[in-house]
Structure formats: structure tokens, C-alpha cells
């Protein structure tokens, strides 16, 4: 039997059947454009401009409204506080009647009798505008008027912000329109769902929808059917196509082309990856709890690496070692003290035996004539008796609690004893020694 040494182990696990959700790029053509066309239209408007915005409004649009003093400007903003810089741009020098409508969820601009519906908020420098001619713009016009007169909580009239002033019209409800209708929420099932490339919209992907995408073109979710689509709270009876998109898919790892760039749903959506065929993962050394279990020692876990078909895990099993704070056992010292004391007592007894023999010799040679015979006899006998008593007296030295091991070296901490051995053939003896131990005891290398 040889020396006890560490053992190198390995294991291959397949993850090919694991199913992941990921985005796969469909196209990267963007439909976003700047506002120049809209700005030109505003500058040439004759009558009114009406803006509905869920955010503050891009300064270039506001500049155009400022430039055309002929037109009357009206705005509804979702939040005066968040759109503060838009609200502040209007006063008696350029009046716009601005109202705050909390439930506003869409962005659009009515310029005279045409309109543009924007997919994204108007604080963005580029946007996706949908043009509505006169016949369709009237739907947006009605919705604007509905929000303005019925749903506003605050208004800025010239310079002052106050509660809205009483409407000249009786309250009126929404009506069924041909092109654009306001809905309560986008809960119904759609054919396609597009969300922005932003993980905060991730939960929306849990909705029941046949096809799901994210798009760099979007800042708000978009729900598409074949002949209509929903953005914000508008259901628009028009066909709409998003070109820039990544489609959400769900597949086994082995079925995903490893040459394909994908974006796993659960990862950051900023970077794409490729599926790996195989990867080796070197695990940390594992200290076996016992010398016997070393051969079968597995890692506590096989750490998972996603997006890899199979992983080869490698690790090293090392035998148990005594802890660094273990000191050579005090048992050794106890035994030394005991042995020393015992030796000394034995040496002293030898001396007493020699003295006893001498005394006995003297006794046998004692001359009765000696006038002091009796006195000497008595004395010798007394001394012999004392010596015999002393010699026969049981040694009064306590033994250490345990014997010292026959193999290895014994170490200890406050709680545990460690018998450090070097070879496997010492192991049996070490285990024998272990049987007598009532304390915590480990065999280490």
C-alpha cells in the first residue's frame, strides 16, 4: 500500500434538452425618422395645432409652434411635472392652452385637418409617425377634444396653472369610430406583440400572443393584428409593420443553430450570444471527508452554464488534512511526564532495594555480643521494614487517558483529535486506535 495522494476526477453532463427562450433577429431596418416633415407642416399650418403627449415635447416641434403665430395651439400632456419644460415654453407671448390628462397614453399631433400619430413619446429625437389624412384625422380630433374637455384635471391658460375651467359643452362619451378607437386596456389577444428592447417590459411577453418581438424602434409596447394594431390606448384599424425586430422563440439547446446570434430572454438584451457545443468547467479541489470516500467523492454541485449543449466538469479530490490550528496532541507530553515519573520512582525503588539488601546483609552479620546488638538489631529491622513497605507501596502516578497511537502522529484542536498518517497500510492501525477514542477523532493525511 502506497502513500495517500489526491485524485483527479471528471464528468460530462448534457444540457441539450434544456429549453430556453431567446430572441432571434428578424430585421434591423428602422422606421424611425426625425420631425422635419412635421415641423414643416406646423410652420405652414393655417388654423390650429393640437398636440397630445405623454412626455415633454421635443424642442424642435415647440420651436415650429412658436414660429407660426397664426395658428392656435392646444396641448394635452400626461403629466405637467414631467413635461415642465414644455409647459414653461408658453405664456402670453405665445399662448397655448395646455391641459393635464393623466390617462393619456398616446402621442399625436393634429395640424389643421391632418394628423400624425406617433408610436413613441414626443420627447424622443426620432419617432415613427403615422400620417392620417383629413378623413381619418377626424377620429383623432374627436379623441383630442374628448380628453381636453372631459378628462383633464389641470390647465395652463396664458400664464396661470389652475384647475380646469368649466367646459362649454356637456360631458360626452367616447364613440365608436372608423379608424381610431380608445380602449380601456390592451388585454385582449393579439397576433403579434412588440415591446421595446428594454427588460422592464419583459413581463408583457407573458401575455398570450402568437408572436412576440422586441424592437429598437419602440419605446412602448405595440400589439398587432392582421388588420389593426394597438398602441397605448388606441386601437387603430390600419395595418402596421415593424421592420426592426427580434422575435422571441423557445427551443431545445440542441435545436438552436450554434452559428446564430441570439439574445436569451433572461439575460441582458443588449448583447447577443451564440450557443456553444461544449465547454469544460474546472471545479475547485474537493477535500474528501474521509480517506475511504476519496474515490467516490463528487462535487457538491455541477455549476450550470447556460447556452452550452454539454459541459465537462473536472475536479480534484484531496484527502482530509488536519486543520492548520491543530497542535501536536498534549497526550504526548502527558505520556512523557508519566514515563518520567514512573522511571524516577523505579530508580528510587532500585535504590531502596539495594539499601534493603545491604541492610539485610548487615542484619545477618550482626554480632549478638555486641553490647549494642539489640539496639542495632531493632534499628535495622525497623529500617528494613520501612524499606520493604516503601518498595511494596503501589506507585502513585496517574496514567494519561489514552495510549499514544502506534501509527501516525496525533494532533488536536479544542474539539477534535487528528491522527495524521501517510500511507494506506497505516489506516487499519489508525482505525483500531480510533475505536478507543471517545472524543471527536479524525484520520487525516
Amino acid at each position: 500500500m502506497g502513500k495517500i495522494v489526491e485524485i483527479n476526477k471528471s464528468k460530462t453532463i448534457s444540457y441539450k434538452d434544456d429549453i430556453i427562450e431567446y430572441f432571434e433577429e428578424v430585421d434591423s431596418i428602422s422606421k424611425k425618422e426625425d420631425y422635419q416633415n412635421i415641423i414643416d407642416k406646423i410652420k405652414n399650418a393655417k388654423s390650429t395645432v393640437r398636440v397630445a403627449s405623454t412626455s415633454y415635447i421635443d424642442e424642435k416641434i415647440l420651436d415650429a409652434i412658436h414660429e407660426n403665430l397664426e395658428i392656435n395651439a392646444y396641448m394635452i400632456l400626461k403629466d405637467f411635472t414631467k413635461a415642465d419644460k414644455t409647459v414653461k415654453r408658453f405664456d402670453e407671448r405665445r399662448v397655448a392652452i395646455i391641459r393635464e390628462v393623466d390617462e393619456l397614453a398616446n402621442n399625436f399631433i393634429l395640424i389643421d385637418n391632418i394628423a400624425y400619430l406617433f408610436i413613441n413619446p414626443l420627447d424622443e429625437e426620432k419617432n415613427i409617425p403615422l400620417y392620417f389624412d383629413e378623413s381619418k384625422a377626424s377620429d383623432l380630433e374627436f379623441v383630442f377634444n374628448y380628453y381636453f374637455w372631459n378628462r383633464a384635471s389641470k390647465e395652463k391658460l396664458i400664464n396661470e396653472i389652475s384647475k380646469v375651467i368649466e367646459s362649454p359643452f356637456p360631458p360626452f362619451g367616447l364613440r365608436k369610430q372608423k379608424c381610431i378607437n380608445v380602449i380601456k386596456s390592451s388585454d385582449e389577444e393579439y397576433v403579434s406583440l412588440y415591446i421595446p428592447r428594454d427588460k422592464k417590459f419583459n413581463n408583457i411577453l407573458d401575455k398570450k400572443t402568437s408572436s412576440k418581438y422586441f424592437s429598437d424602434d419602440l419605446s412602448v409596447p405595440l400589439y398587432l393584428n392582421e388588420n389593426n394594431f394597438t398602441v397605448g390606448l388606441f386601437e387603430i384599424n390600419e395595418t402596421f409593420v415593424i421592420t426592426n425586430s427580434w422575435k422571441l422563440k423557445k427551443n431545445k439547446l440542441e435545436d438552436i443553430d450554434s452559428n446564430l446570434e441570439i439574445i436569451p430572454r433572461k439575460e441582458s438584451w443588449l448583447n447577443s450570444i451564440k450557443i456553444e457545443e461544449s465547454r469544460e468547467i474546472s471545479l475547485n479541489e474537493i477535500t474528501s471527508p474521509s480517506i475511504e470516500s476519496m474515490e467516490n467523492q463528487e462535487p457538491y454541485e455541477y455549476p450550470r452554464e447556460d447556452y452550452v449543449n454539454e459541459i465537462i466538469y473536472t475536479w480534484t479530490v484531496v484527502p482530509p488534512h488536519k486543520p492548520k490550528n491543530a497542535k501536536k496532541s498534549s497526550l504526548y507530553n502527558e505520556h512523557k511526564v508519566y514515563e518520567d515519573k514512573k522511571k524516577k520512582w523505579e530508580e528510587e525503588n532500585e535504590e531502596r532495594k539495594e539499601s534493603l539488601n545491604e541492610k539485610k546483609k548487615v542484619l545477618s552479620g550482626l554480632n549478638k555480643s555486641d553490647k549494642k546488638y539489640e539496639e542495632k538489631l531493632s534499628k535495622l529491622k525497623s529500617e528494613i521494614k520501612k524499606l520493604e513497605e516503601k518498595i511494596n507501596q503501589k506507585e502513585n502516578i496517574s496514567k494519561p487517558k489514552y495510549e499514544l497511537p502506534k501509527v501516525g502522529v496525533l494532533y488536536e484542536t479544542n474539539e477534535t483529535y487528528f491522527l495524521e498518517i501517510k500511507t494506506l497500510n497505516e489506516l487499519k492501525e489508525a482505525k483500531e486506535y480510533l475505536k478507543h477514542f471517545k472524543e471527536n477523532f479524525k484520520i487525516t493525511v
Binding site: N72, P168, F172, R175
Partner: protein, 490 residues
């Protein structure tokens, strides 16, 4: 309305020698009572059995003192003339205008008695007598006197001072006063007082709007008070005080400016958004309340009203927003359209009702927020008559709070007489569009309220072209259908 015109006139003190009649109490007054001619007198005296010589003496006496003149009894109204000759001091107002006196005597004072024989050439000087004014009363004791003769050219002007004459116009009557004494006078035509600017049909001063454009009180009350120096032909120049003078716009343009001013005030008072309909309503109400404006046939013109305010005024936006953000354009095409042209003297049956494609509807519903004044109910009454008195349900708001008790009473009378079932709702609860619904199947939306029909005694006029658009009920507002549901469910 009060006018006070004052001017300074000269009071001259003259001294003359002449003959003056002082009118005193006398038994002759009683004798001459009821007698106007010499013949009647003689007949009376004969009846009293006076001798012819006594009668002759009396006649001669009366002739000599001027009581009998050309066989007529004259000059006894103020007393029986006692003729005296002597030296007199006379205070006399001097006036060369057409005022009610040329020269009015103020006071005569006998200075001393002078024997007629001691004056060499006593003769009548009609001119002077005329100038002095023949007959007068002393301002001090109100006793009448009459200067009959002056010794020719024998008056001396002693002193000259000023006095104030005031012409008063009050309760449609002219009087003048001098030194707190009031005298009747002939009327001066107000057109002369106001330089040809008096409107006799409205009894009001025609005035340029710009003259009072800053005077809110005048513009609202249609009365003005002011002071001004005026010159009246033949009467000279006066310092005038004019109080509560009724005023009327001079021209149609002035009327329009005036109405716009009042309308602006109404708008400012409301301090809220105003729809075109409500503005139209305010416009009509103002014209109803101000007949002096209504006479100019002003046409409602939103743009003109709007331009009274600048774009930096919130009132501009309180009006314009209702136009720019008008929410009730459905874009639907009506099934049919009835057009009633603006016209005076129309016959509602022939010129109005017959244009609707129906005969004697049994059931008639009007949903209109703006039927709340007497003029509207008068028009409704006429429409009901023309329609053959169908069962009528009217959905509208409460009566205008500013209407008088009389108007409210008259409205109640029309409601009761015509069996109008009036469903009163808050203005906000009534749909904005106006509907006329016949027999629950013909739904007409109209652009004007009932005030477009002006009922003036027997003349009925349509003030503006009015359209009635016929729609399918599926195209109507849900809010309207709710109201109709309420009506039909009782």
C-alpha cells in the same frame, strides 16, 4: 331724463316817464265777469236797469283805460287797470334770442308823480313799449302792470348787471326759470337741442360709440349724463347739464361696437369657456334686452366678436377653444336637410312647417339647452300652432335667472295654455346639439335655437338662415338616446 340749459342775460335798470296801468282789485272785475264784448256788457247793464247815460259813462271809462278795445273786453285777467302817469324805475331782462321773452320786465318802481300837463310832448312810443314788454308782473309782489306810454326817447339806462336764465326739460315739459321763478314756455324740439341727433322713435340721443367707449355706465344703462356748451338755433349758446339722457347708437357700426362691448362684459363676467351656441344665446339675450340695439338688425358674427380680444387675452381663448375644439362634428351626412331662409313676415305654416316632409305630427320633442326666455317660448307657441298642436315635450334647462317676474309668469302661461311638458335638467345634463324629433322617428338636428324665430305682435321673422338635418337614430349621440329613453319610460 333732465336737461338744464343756462345762460347769462343782462338786467338793465331804466328810468322813464310815461303812463302805466297797474292792475288792481276792482268792483268792475266782478261786473265784467263772463263778459267779453261791449254788446254783452251793454246788455248786462240794461238788464241791471242802468240809465243810458250811466251806461255810456261806464263804456267811456272802460275805453279810456283800455279795457274796451275795439268793442272787446280785454286786459282784465290780472286785475282792473288803474292808469298812472309819472316817473318810473324799471328793471328789465334783456334778451335778443327766441327765448320765451324778448325783454322781460322784472320790477317797476314809481319814482314820483309828474303832472301830465308838465310834460311837453307825451306820445306813444310803441317800439319802446314793445321792447320793455307791455305787460308784466313784478318779481317782488307778483302784481301785474302794463307800460302803456313812454315819453318819447325819455328813458335813461341807469345800470346794467347779469342774471341767469335756466331752461328746464323734465318729464317731457319745458320751463324756464329766472331768479328761482319758474315760467312755462313753448317746447324746444329735442332734435334742436341735440344738434339733429335726437331719435324720435326711441326718444333717445343718437351717439357715436367712440364718444362713450370708455364710459361703461353709459354703455350698460343706455343713458348718459354730461355737461356741455350747446348752441340752439335762435336761442343762443347755453351751458347745458344733461342728466340720464337716453342714448342709442348713431349708426349700425356704432350699434355693433356697442353690442360687442356689452357682450365682452358678459363674457368677462362668466370667466369660463363659452361655446358658439352660448355666445349666440348671449348675443340674442342682449338684443332682446336692448331694443335700441336690436333695431339695427345686427348679425351674429363670431369672428368680429373674437377680435374684440387679442390672442394674449384669456377671453379670446375662452371663446376660440370652443370653436377649435368643437367635439360634435360627426362627419355624418344627413339623410335630408330643411333650410329655412332668414326673412321678415313669414307664415310659419307655409314658410316653415311645410318644408318638413310630414303632416300634423302627433308627438313632438325638442331637446335644446337654450329655451329659457320668454322670446323662446313665444316662438315655441307659434311653432306649435303651425304644427297643429302636437303633444310637446321640451327638454331644456331652468329659466334664465335674470328674467323678470312678468316674463316668468308669461312663460308659465304659455306652458299651461299649450300643454307643454317641460323636462328641466341641469345644463350639463343636456346634449349639446339641438334636436327636433317628430313622432319618435324623424330626428332633426338644428343649428339654431328658437330665438331665431322673432315674434313681434303679428309679425314673425326668421332672423338667420336655419337648417334642420335629418339623421338616422343609430347615428345619434348616446346621451340623446338616454334622454329619449327617459321620456319614453315616463
Amino acid at each position: 331724463m333732465k336737461i338744464e340749459l343756462s345762460k347769462s342775460i343782462t338786467v338793465k335798470t331804466l328810468e322813464f316817464v310815461g303812463e302805466v296801468n297797474f292792475f288792481e282789485e276792482s268792483p268792475y272785475i266782478k261786473l265784467l265777469e263772463g263778459i267779453s264784448t261791449q254788446d254783452e256788457l251793454e246788455k248786462q247793464l240794461i238788464e241791471k236797469e242802468l240809465s243810458p247815460s250811466a251806461i255810456k259813462n261806464i263804456i267811456q271809462k272802460l275805453e279810456s283805460i283800455g279795457v274796451l278795445l275795439n268793442r272787446d273786453i280785454v286786459n282784465v285777467q290780472d286785475g282792473f287797470p288803474e292808469r298812472e302817469y309819472g316817473k318810473y324805475g324799471l328793471e328789465m331782462f334783456e334778451n335778443y334770442t327766441s327765448l320765451p321773452f324778448k325783454f322781460k320786465n322784472k320790477e317797476i318802481k314809481r319814482e314820483s308823480y309828474i303832472s301830465k300837463n308838465r310834460v311837453d310832448s307825451i306820445k306813444k312810443d310803441e317800439y319802446l313799449i314793445e321792447k320793455i314788454y307791455k305787460k308784466s308782473k313784478n318779481f317782488s309782489d307778483n302784481k301785474s302792470f302794463k307800460v302803456i306810454k313812454l315819453e318819447a326817447d325819455k328813458y335813461i339806462e341807469l345800470t346794467q348787471k347779469n342774471a341767469n336764465i335756466k331752461l328746464h326739460f323734465k318729464e317731457n315739459m319745458w320751463q324756464y326759470s329766472i331768479e328761482k321763478k319758474l315760467f312755462p314756455m313753448d317746447k324746444i324740439e329735442l332734435d334742436n337741442v341735440f344738434d339733429g341727433n335726437w331719435d324720435n322713435s326711441f326718444n333717445a340721443l343718437k351717439i357715436d360709440f367712440h364718444r362713450i367707449s370708455e364710459q361703461e355706465k353709459f354703455l350698460i344703462s343706455f343713458e348718459m349724463s354730461y355737461s356741455d356748451n350747446i348752441t340752439i338755433d335762435g336761442y343762443g349758446t347755453f351751458n347745458g347739464k344733461f342728466q340720464n339722457i337716453p342714448i342709442i347708437p348713431k349708426t349700425k357700426h356704432d350699434a355693433q361696437q356697442w353690442l360687442l362691448y356689452l357682450l365682452k362684459k358678459e363674457i368677462e363676467k362668466k370667466e369660463r369657456y363659452i361655446s358658439t351656441d352660448e355666445l349666440h344665446y348671449l348675443w340674442s339675450n342682449l338684443l332682446d334686452a336692448k331694443p335700441r340695439l336690436d333695431t339695427f338688425d345686427l348679425e351674429f358674427d363670431f369672428e368680429t366678436i373674437l377680435h374684440k380680444f387679442g390672442k394674449d387675452s384669456k377671453y379670446y381663448w375662452l371663446l376660440q377653444s370652443g370653436i377649435d375644439l368643437y367635439p360634435f362634428n360627426t362627419g355624418l351626412t344627413p339623410k335630408a336637410r330643411v333650410i329655412i331662409e332668414a326673412r321678415e313676415n313669414i307664415n310659419l305654416e307655409n314658410d316653415f312647417v311645410s318644408k318638413f316632409n310630414m303632416h300634423n305630427p302627433k308627438d313632438f320633442i325638442i331637446v335644446d339647452r337654450w329655451i329659457n326666455r320668454l322670446a323662446h317660448f313665444k316662438a315655441l307657441e307659434q311653432i306649435l300652432k303651425a304644427l297643429g298642436s302636437p303633444k310637446i315635450t321640451l327638454v331644456t334647462q331652468a329659466l334664465d335667472k335674470n328674467i323678470s317676474d312678468d316674463d316668468a309668469y308669461a312663460i308659465q302661461n304659455i306652458i299651461a295654455t299649450n300643454g307643454i311638458k317641460k323636462i328641466e335638467k341641469k345644463k350639463k345634463e343636456i346634449v349639446h346639439s339641438r334636436y327636433w324629433i317628430f313622432d319618435n322617428q324623424e330626428f332633426y338636428k338644428t343649428n339654431n335655437s328658437l330665438d331665431v324665430i322673432k315674434v313681434d305682435k303679428h309679425n314673425i321673422a326668421i332672423k338667420e338662415q336655419t337648417t334642420f338635418d335629418l339623421y338616422n337614430n343609430k347615428d345619434l349621440e348616446a346621451e340623446l338616446m338616454n334622454v329619449l329613453g327617459e321620456i319614453n319610460n315616463g
